[in-house]
Symmetry: C2
Subunit: 499 residues, 2 copies
Amino acid sequence: MRDLPEQIEGYGAVRAHDDGTGPAPCRSKLLADLDAAIAACELSDGATVSFHHHLRNGDAVLNMVLDRLAARGLKNLHVAATSIFPVHAPLVGHIRAGTVTRLSASFISGPVGEAISHGLVPHPVVLRTHGGRARALDMGELQVDAAFVAAPAADEMGNLSGRVGPTACGTLGYPLTDVEVARRVIAVTDTLVPFPAPAIDIPQGKVHHVVAVDRIGDPTGIASGTTTPATDPVSTRIGDTAAAVIAASGLLADGFSFQTGAGGISLCTAAAVGRLMTDQGVTGSFCAGGITGFHVDMLNAGLFRALMDVQCFDLAAVRSYQSDPRHQMMSAATYAAPHIGGAVVDRVDAVVLGAAEVDLAFNVNVTTKAGGIVIGGSGGHADTAAGARLTILTTRLTAAGFPKIVPHVGTLTTPGATVDVVVTDHGIAVNPLRPALTERLHAAGLALCGIETLCDQAARLATRPAPPNPSGRIVAVSEYRDGSVTDVIRQIEDGHTNA
Amino acid sequence: MRDLPEQIEGYGAVRAHDDGTGPAPCRSKLLADLDAAIAACELSDGATVSFHHHLRNGDAVLNMVLDRLAARGLKNLHVAATSIFPVHAPLVGHIRAGTVTRLSASFISGPVGEAISHGLVPHPVVLRTHGGRARALDMGELQVDAAFVAAPAADEMGNLSGRVGPTACGTLGYPLTDVEVARRVIAVTDTLVPFPAPAIDIPQGKVHHVVAVDRIGDPTGIASGTTTPATDPVSTRIGDTAAAVIAASGLLADGFSFQTGAGGISLCTAAAVGRLMTDQGVTGSFCAGGITGFHVDMLNAGLFRALMDVQCFDLAAVRSYQSDPRHQMMSAATYAAPHIGGAVVDRVDAVVLGAAEVDLAFNVNVTTKAGGIVIGGSGGHADTAAGARLTILTTRLTAAGFPKIVPHVGTLTTPGATVDVVVTDHGIAVNPLRPALTERLHAAGLALCGIETLCDQAARLATRPAPPNPSGRIVAVSEYRDGSVTDVIRQIEDGHTNA
């Protein structure tokens, strides 16, 4: 022991080193099972547990963890998921049992959405955008006690990879944001690899415990729904029209950046844009967002030079991320958070989005279906609409007999002020807030109409009237990316008939 | 505007969305010059500014930034660097002028070290280990107002790469920790690339401003000092002996993990260990720490299957990181921080370290030279010694005529309780706290002696007596990785003659 003063001017109090070695080195974070990890996190009633949706409708981790939390007798938990899918139906049982009484997510589809609309969750569910959720985490509005990371591969120190193992899902953009702020992080893997894991996507410094289980999910569930361009003539026509709008906007020049969803019409648009780029010799810069094999094909065709990927939407995208350094991961925060000043969405030239409903003020609903049942939420919808230079909504005028262009959307997810153009199978309407864009599309010879015209036509084509919105208590709150509230979702009364 | 309640039970107060688009998208973080970036950070007198040393003795950014801070008339700044090299001599002028009055770092060599020892810095300098600095940042003990990141390449949104551009330095493990906590992050680059940057090492979500300058440094300065094995017979003998110790310890089996510094004797040891591994058919798991071309060669020879790299020590390592996915980056926190529970140093089987002095309690000094002038600091020395299963100190008995095995080290950097073996050109001494290791080395036929014997021999071989330690005011504090104090460094009196 050195002879040290107790206090040093300009430094402060001195805590003398005790000549020991300090805490013993920690050479493994592997615990026996989920129960041990849950115990190690000292979770108590009312805790917030977070999950991500990279395994989409193939995810087994959320159900597995909630079963164990329930078995331990925990109550009043808050499940802070990035997205909830039909595969998470067992969550309804945990809500009924009082294990889970709060829920927040960016997208909720399937039985859990129905349960919310029927008033099963005692506290209002909070629906956030992907960027808004990252902001809420960063700013401490959403505090997570334990983040459970479904890890396709992990070593026993907690280095996690989305690129290795039978359940490889590609990038891990969503948990990358959770692990920065969660009080505890538990990696759940079915592929324990020797230290150090190859292709580390989340480093060990962010992970507290590792648990190995038989399987974290079904990789075939990653590609939920279509991730290829639609081939029917209506979708093709909408896609061609949307591509013509992008070309007419003046944005389709070298360096062009692009985002689409994974839906059939969105990818039809991407295909049409790709043909225009080839014809005109345009080389784009990047595609962003959730990435499909179709985007990978565009990269490999030389149409773009990079992919910025928050989540792989299919296994072709996973394979690309495994092997191509031009295909890079971004976190949810980097992708879409509004508080950092310059998210990737801010660099997107054109985004093509879908809609459940659009109204006369160009407001978009992607949260509830006709009748008011929760079927989704913003995900990145409102984020990309706010960031991109050109936001195009593509939709048919009707679906399932209901009109999709309506006087007032059932739920306001994405504010009309951030939507530039609506492209339908019966015409194009430009937001009157964008006179310069109207000018350009006119000059390019595109026929435009007012949104009112499309709304009238939709009403004529509809075979069923839009049912009234439910009027019960507030069961969910739709937050904009900055935390302000765009709308509330109300409980469906008993006996109310839904579409 | 929707009709929203002001308050929702179970949710709280409602801030209604104002139907606007929110803040305008930010499509570039590029500012005109360093002055604009400094102004944007609103730095004031007494601010803490941080720097990293990936460009080592080729770094131009610290000097450049301090010149601008001085020109703006700022005073009493705290420079929180990872390491200071001879190239940073102009910092002495900024200290004299009162621009900088506080300094902290993990390693300080050259004129700044001399200035500290002569009492030029008004407040005690804080010397932390690499892991201790990361811990202090994470825990808020070290609060950074602006982190300046020398970025070999950057796009205008702040995606940074160490793998691109004429000044490519490889991994960016040190700033990776700073950018997580600094109030503002300024990237300084000489290679502005189109968005998105390829091979992103630090993502845009962590960077506030980007500034382009003519050059951030001289890449030939990255390899400061030797990064190849020494070839002289004394070094070779020490290296062979150290390798024999590792073999005798029982650790040299499949999965073996290894760390060495970049010095000649350390790499001699690595070469000897490599030969033993080849002879015995052992395949190791990883090498960690600062990485040299020699470590890359061992990877490519199949002796190890991964490199965990906090900093590339030469251009061969840079090239490897640019192209080989087995060569992975780790942050300073992941590498060495003691508060996370399981740093990479905890997974190292054997580490070979150097020493300025070792004493009878196996305490090590790598902070001051004989006479007390600051010539270094722990860097990762104390971190790896605490984490590794086997810590070997290699040293000659004397240097420049002074003894290196001494009764008491001039400055205690690394506690003897974490040091297992001292290997010299005149014998091997095992720490008496490790009887089982003594047993194994005996069994392997290695001749051992007491540390006292080595100390006596060093005294006999020395041609100059160890000068007394300086006795002036405290000019620096040596912190252990947990923030406790291992020692203080005192001012050299005027007229005192130094070696």
